[in-house]
Amino acid sequence: MKLRIKFSKHGVLKFIGHLDVMRYFQKAIRRAGIDIAYSTGFSPHQIMSFAAPLGVGLESNGEYMDIEVHSLTSSQQLIDALNAQMVEGIRVLEAKLLPEDAGNAMASVYAARYAIRFREGCAPAFLNRATIADFYSQPEIIVTKKTKRSETTFDMKPHIFECALSQDEQTVLLTVDASSSGNIKPALVMHAYYEKNGGVLDEFALLITREDTYMNAGDETTPKLEPLGFIGSDYE
């Protein structure tokens, strides 16, 4: 049986990289005594997959991982058992039982929503609702992606699903493609926004929180974003 677990990551945990968070959960699952399934072979591994890696320095309210278990207690019990093993900065929020035919977490990722705030005194002078709207209403947003060998340009616009400013005008809300093929880093969008307004972004100015990670519950032409836990259900 497959479970989809949602967790948040804050505070000093933002300095722990993706692979180390996986290792952390493997050990936490053992300490919590969860009846997880293992691969076979000389060094059995827990059957576990993470949705979308979160970069070092980012916080999150919506991380997901799938695990396979042999027996079920209840969503709440599993959440409590894991939370009893968590360190400060990381909390388990949901545990949903997935239908048999659910795709794995990583392959299901379609988009992610980010809340981008600015460090003390780092918000650009041009930050307001009008410049954000101007930026997002461009027919195309061309950026250059540099790799070791080449530079390619591409249009980011179709991969941005939302770009807005919060009520208090302090936070940029951004929903972008997070699929393995088209993943957009929020900082890349911010670079383009700065450039359009004649500024230069120092990424350190940004405080980024991933608010949630989404799957596409619609189809290719009319996507419908739903949190990754949407296809699962609480269990008793």
């Binding site: 804050h10 505070g11 000093v12 945990l13 300095f15 722990i16 990289g17 180390d20 290792r23 952390y24 493997q26 050990k27 936490a28 699952i29 053992r30 300490r31 293992y38 000389f42 060094s43 059995p44 070092v56 320095g57 093993q85 360190v87 400060e88 900065g89 350190f204």
Partner: protein, 629 residues
């Protein structure tokens, strides 16, 4: 939310910020205002190395069991952070509270290898603690050193307020009580040090003085004050089954050298290999009870969630309840899907059976440590492993499906000749030949792979070879080339790979290993010229060290290649590790005569460690002959 000593800006700039944030599972947080003693325990190397050290975990756990004490951890900031801290004037901090080390009552430093001496100075420097103990006041922590290098603490004597000689479990409580009492009475720091010097195992270097002969050797070494002991005997735990052991060790976020539960099954070693310092320092061998180990293993697995467990000790095959313990672990670990990482075991039917159960044969290899290439030289070093035993073991393993062999040797051992060196290549060749002999072509699993590695022998204090001259760097390199040539002349040379360690650091290590107090200045000078992380090849600055030695008038040959006289007073002679100098002298003579000395289970050789009245010294001698090589 926890406050960190470093800003986000710094943490996002440095490599592996997780080294500096604490917050790991099982790390201990206390209320600093509710404890009397704040203890910073430091391993002067990078986090991933320091976190893997069992000794620190034991002391950390023990000190935190004391209600009046909060023990926290400190590691060396990696050079990237080091330069930021210097530039911005950020003081070194402990991981748990993130408070500056300078404000602690004690700074404990474990000293595991000579190449970390400059890192000790880095820790003092970044903490804002004066390098010299005599310049410290109550505004600074008491700096206390422990670990194997304290068996010759003299080259770093000036930097420490005190050294703790021996195993940490026994004297910390009395030491902390004395500290609290002295502070309560408002005594001076010096008065406290003088009283501490009277506790068993505690050495306060500034209370002793050395006089030298004209030739540079020591004329005398004695306490400056009446009532301060002239000899300091090491501390040890007599019953290892009833003492502290960390049931909830800290679980790091990032991958460390030891990312597993470590079960120490015994301390000490019954074998007296004459080059081996650990074999002498930790005498007598004391085992932990298998029942205690089983219970401990399960609790540690439950409390950490580690997916691997390893056994730790010297010469693990000599642990008398090994079969019982290992079969228990195999059963309970299979159930829990925990891997067992085996220590290197003597190759026989039992160990092969165990290895087959816990490792993938295709990926694992056999390990032999003959240490010397010829039987003659193995007798000199008292390494009982014979060629016959190695070839038999290899044949058995090849039939069982193994085809990789690792061999460990030392170059530069006393009395070594070209023939002994050729013996390394010849032994490797014979092992390869056995493979082709015992396995018909169709049963072979590819070519046999033999990796022979050599390290350079550096004479260490408290070994029978403490009198021996060390080779020069040029001689070491010549010997390595000789080995390489000999390997290339073997019939099966295509199956043999030869590796050797760098010779550069061996000179410096040799100077420090048998050095005296006069080296404190050059070590400090080398640090001030930028030497740090000497144990890391990419940071080791050979030229700077050699230049500093020359500038400070250090005669390298005096410390390394000189043959020491039998009556010479050594800088470490005032310490008693249990083994007497008379015994070591006799063993040095036996070595030169090529005479083998039986192990402690066959026969007691009256080394002196029986004074502790525990372990193997109090057991009947059960083995009639050394059939367990």
């Amino acid at each position: 939310m926890r406050n960190l000593a470093l800003s986000d800006e710094i943490l996002l700039q440095v490599e592996k910020p997780a080294r500096y944030i604490g917050n790991e599972v099982n790390s201990v947080i206390k209320d600093s205002s509710a404890v009397d003693v704040r203890f910073a325990m430091c391993f002067p190397d990078v986090y991933e190395i320091g976190m893997s050290h069992l000794g620190i975990q034991i002391i950390y756990d023990m000190l935190n069991q004391f209600e009046d004490t909060w023990c926290e951890r400190v590691y060396s900031p990696w050079p990237d952070l080091d330069s930021i801290m210097r530039k911005e004037g950020i003081p070194l901090f402990a991981l748990e509270s993130q408070d500056p080390v300078r404000d602690f009552d004690f700074l404990g430093i474990t000293i595991q290898y000579e190449l970390c001496y400059t890192n000790i100075l880095q820790v003092l420097d970044l903490s804002g603690i004066p390098f010299l103990a005599t310049e410290r006041t109550w505004a600074h922590p008491i700096v206390i050193g422990g670990g194997p290098c304290t068996y010759n603490p003299e080259p770093i004597a000036d930097f420490f307020d005190m050294f703790y000689i021996g195993e940490g479990e026994t004297q910390y409580r009395p030491l902390l009580d004395l500290y609290k009492e002295c502070r309560r009475q408002g005594l001076s720091r010096t008065a406290f040090l003088e009283q501490a010097a009277k506790l068993p195992g505690i050495y306060v270097p500034q209370l002793y003085e050395t006089a030298y002969h004209e030739d540079g050797t020591i004329a005398s070494f004695a306490p400056k004050l009446a009532g301060i002991p002239a000899t300091i005997t090491k501390e040890l735990v007599t019953d290892l089954s009833r003492t502290y052991y960390p049931l909830k060790p800290v679980v790091p976020f990032i991958k460390c050298t030891q990312d597993r539960v470590v079960l120490e099954i015994q301390r000490g070693c019954i074998r007296g290999c004459r080059f081996c310092q650990a074999g002498q320092l930790y005498r007598p061998v004391r085992e932990r009870d298998a029942q205690m180990l089983k219970e401990t293993a399960l609790q540690m697995l439950d409390n950490t969630g580690h997916e691997e467990i390893s056994l730790s000790s010297l010469s693990s095959s000599d642990y008398s309840q090994l079969e019982e313990l290992v079969s228990f672990l195999i059963d309970s670990c299979r159930e829990r899907k925990v891997n067992i990482s085996l220590p290197s075991l003597r190759i026989d039917a039992f160990s092969l059976e165990v290895m087959e159960k816990v490792q993938d044969i295709k990926k694992s290899s056999l390990t032999f440590a003959p240490e010397a290439g010829s039987q003659r030289l193995r007798d000199v070093i008292n390494k009982g492993l014979t060629e016959e035993v190695i070839l038999k073991g290899a044949a058995l393993a090849f039939r069982g499906g193994w085809n990789r062999v690792k061999l460990y040797f030392m170059l530069g051992l006393p009395t070594e000749t070209e023939e002994d060196i050729r013996g390394i290549a010849e032994l490797a060749n014979k092992i390869a030949a056995v493979y082709y002999e015992v396995l018909p072509r169709e049963q072979r699993n590819g070519r046999v792979q033999i990796v022979a590695s050599t390290s350079f022998f550096i004479p260490k204090p408290f070994t029978p070879f403490q009198w021996a001259p060390q080779c020069t760097r040029e001689a070491f390199i010549e010997k390595a080339y000789m080995t390489k040539r000999a390997v290339s002349e073997q019939l099966n040379q295509k199956s043999i790979k030869y590796n050797w360690h760098e010779a550069d650091a061996s000179v410096m290590e040799g100077v420090l290993a048998r050095g005296d107090r006069r080296l404190c200045k050059p070590i400090l000078a080398a640090y001030q010229k930028g030497c740090i992380f000497d144990a890391w090849g990419e940071y080791y600055k050979h030229d700077v060290w050699m230049e500093t030695f020359a500038e400070c008038g250090v005669d390298i040959a005096f410390y390394t290649t000189r043959e020491r006289g039998l009556d010479e007073i050594f800088p470490w002679d005032f310490l008693d590790c249990g083994v007497s100098k008379a015994f070591l002298k006799k063993e040095w003579q036996n070595a030169l005569d090529g005479k083998v000395t039986p192990n402690c289970r066959v026969q007691c050789n009256a080394c002196g460690a029986a004074q502790f009245g525990c372990g193997v010294c109090t057991e009947p001698h059960t083995q009639t002959e050394d059939d367990t090589l």
